[in-house]
Amino acid sequence: MTHAEAAVSSPAADDGAPTPSSSAPPIMKATDLTVEYVVRGRKAGKRTVSAVDHIDLEVRPGETLGLVGESGCGKTTTGRALLGRVPLASGRIEFDGTDITRYSKRQWRELHRDVQLIFQDPYASLNPRLTVREIIGEPLKLHGVARKGEPLRQAVDELLDMVRLPRAAAERYPHAFSGGQRQRIVIARALALRPRFVVADEPVSALDVSIQAQVIGLLQDLQRELGLSYLFIAHNLAVVKHIADRVAVMYLGHIVELADKVSLYRQPLHPYTQALLSAAPIPDPTVQRPERVILRGDPPSPIAPPSGCRFHTRCPLAIERCSVETPPLLEVAPGHRTACWVVQETAVPLPSAGAPA
């Protein structure tokens, strides 16, 4: 990476960002997306919390966009908003070029052929009273793809093949399966209608390490076979590294960094991304790490987010401006955007592990 000319583009007008594979129009695009929750406190009364605060996001056909952040950062809410599961306070969502922001319930139901969700917990998301055949067959029946008899039987068998489960699994109940197998059932159900865009909300976080790798490998295979696009939500940067093409990092409702995988991991620019990377334990005792960036304190409550840059209260680099003005998400190197005054003002990428401890 050479000297980054801070290509100043307004954060809202992010069309045509000069990234390598941006030629294809996005399959899912959110502009100025805001989701608010109403919180009723005993003392403070009614307040609104913006769980997602004016973010822009796009997922391109066939790519995996990783969305990473810690609890309460708004990553799950973002994923749900893209699937019409939470009302928007503002913003616009387009699927494959069509504005779906104001879709009715009926329209959303129809759209669920194309956009689907994979849940985190394979124990909670499967009805224990239904057989695997009923679980996987349900969306097929609801959407009239295969209503009963031989076509339905065959469709379910094919879905089981697709997620590498034995066909005999169909007649059994969820309790008979391990966590990894259950997640395959969840995936088969999500893919039953052959969607084009899938939000995978921490799909492997509840699984054992050796099983995580299997499920991620399966998601990668299916992406290639079916041409899927994923929004892959995770709470740390390790798993995402192995599946995402681009990665967005969220902190308290804002996207603070967005870049292709290689530059994000090689040269993280935002101090929060640097801290996240630095905090991840590396399973190799011989790795010599630069001085660790250990953040002090807890993330502030989303109910009363700090002024200016929401990260400034924990940021080792914060300057005065950070507590006053919110930095926009700007492109500081080709395909690499960050929302940080310090980075933008110096316009020279910082060393990858932010030396100040």
Binding site: E70, D208, G217, A238, P281
Partner: protein, 339 residues
């Protein structure tokens, strides 16, 4: 490193089920030396938490210790009175979820004070002063004010610190930490791990770190026991374990761990699923998933053998390579069940 604090020998813990007893842990042997940091790594159902609870003499009914011994400096942890005495003073335990070990209806001051007064004979005023010191030591800001609060008034990371303060109040020699960072956010995980590291350095406390995360093992531990299907399958100092794992399961675990510092397009995975309990699979518990398994592996469970200095593995294939397979016998299943 020679002075042994905790010695677990041939531990077997069984749980009754409708179809007979099921073993959570079968023939586990391990020990912790003074000031050592031992990692116990394994996936769910590997028996790592059951081992830890048995080490504290805390196996919950209907689970039952059906064989083996656990000794703290030679005293049996299976003697209820001894165990109660040792637990409060010499060994302390912290958990994944602090709310499991903290009393939700008691102020932090009372919880720490209770330990100090009962176990260390502090007076009430002295206990308060010490409690403030402890909270300060675990990095809680405004310790005097926070002492008066209830556990729910603390954030997840802070609550974890409170639990550590309670655990350290009795000045234990060994801290058993069962997945202490698993439920926390990444940046908070790093804080808590750093805190445990500092405390064990400064206070000379030995730590038995139970985790599913090889990253935690690599960054924290001196020595590691890898558990699978209710047994220890490998035991080694940390560096050689990562450099050249002996057991195929350890090798698979190292290869499948995601890491932020290496670009790999695809993670290696281990085919199949872990067994539900120790007797779910005849022979070596790993054999159905093992790329190297042969006929003997499918019938006889391999014993944990020392193949090289301080390098132990329970694997027939490694034993063959070191010329130990011929002379060794498989684990005698019936003898263990009888105890």
């Amino acid at each position: 490193m020679t002075e042994r604090l905790l010695e677990i020998e041939n531990l077997c813990v069984a749980f009754p089920t409708r179809s007979g007893p099921v073993y959570g842990v079968k023939g586990v042997t391990m020990n912790v030396a003074r000031q050592e940091r031992l990692g116990v790594v394994g996936e769910s159902g590997s028996g790592k938490s059951v081992t830890a609870l048995a080490a504290m003499g805390l196996v919950q009914s209907p689970g039952r210790v059906v064989g083996g011994t656990v000794k703290w400096r030679g005293r049996s942890m299976f003697d209820k009175a001894e165990a109660a005495d040792i637990r409060g003073r010499d060994v302390a335990m912290i958990f994944q979820d602090a709310m499991v070990s903290l009393n939700p209806l008691m102020t932090v001051e009372r919880q720490i004070g209770e330990v100090l007064m009962k176990r260390r004979g502090y007076s009430k005023t002295h206990a308060r002063r010490r409690a403030i010191e402890l909270l300060e030591m675990v990095g809680i800001p405004f310790p005097a004010e926070r002492l008066k609060q209830m556990p729910y008034e603390f954030s997840g990371g802070m609550r974890q610190r409170v639990m550590i303060a309670v655990a350290l109040a009795s000045e234990p020699e060994l801290l058993i930490a069962d997945e202490p960072t698993t439920a926390l956010d990444v940046t908070i995980q790093a804080q808590i791990l750093e805190l445990i590291r500092e405390l064990s350095d400064h206070l000379g406390v030995a730590v038995m770190m139970i985790t599913h995360d090889l990253g935690v093992v690599a960054e924290f531990c001196d020595r590691v026991q890898v558990m699978y299907g209710g047994r220890v399958v490998e035991r080694a100092p940390v560096e050689p374990l990562f450099a050249a794992p002996y057991h195929p399961y350890s090798a698979g675990l190292v290869a499948s761990s995601p890491r932020v510092d290496v670009v790999r397009d695809r993670l290696t995975s281990i085919a199949g699923d872990p067994p539900a309990h120790a007797d779910a699979v005849p022979g070596c518990p790993f054999n159905p998933r093992c790329p190297e398994a042969n006929d003997r592996c499918r019938v006889e469970a391999p014993p944990l053998l020392e193949l090289q200095d301080r390098r132990w593995a329970a694997c027939w294939r490694r034993a063959e390579e070191y010329g130990l397979a011929e002379r060794s016998h498989g684990l005698d299943e019936t003898a263990e069940v009888a105890t």
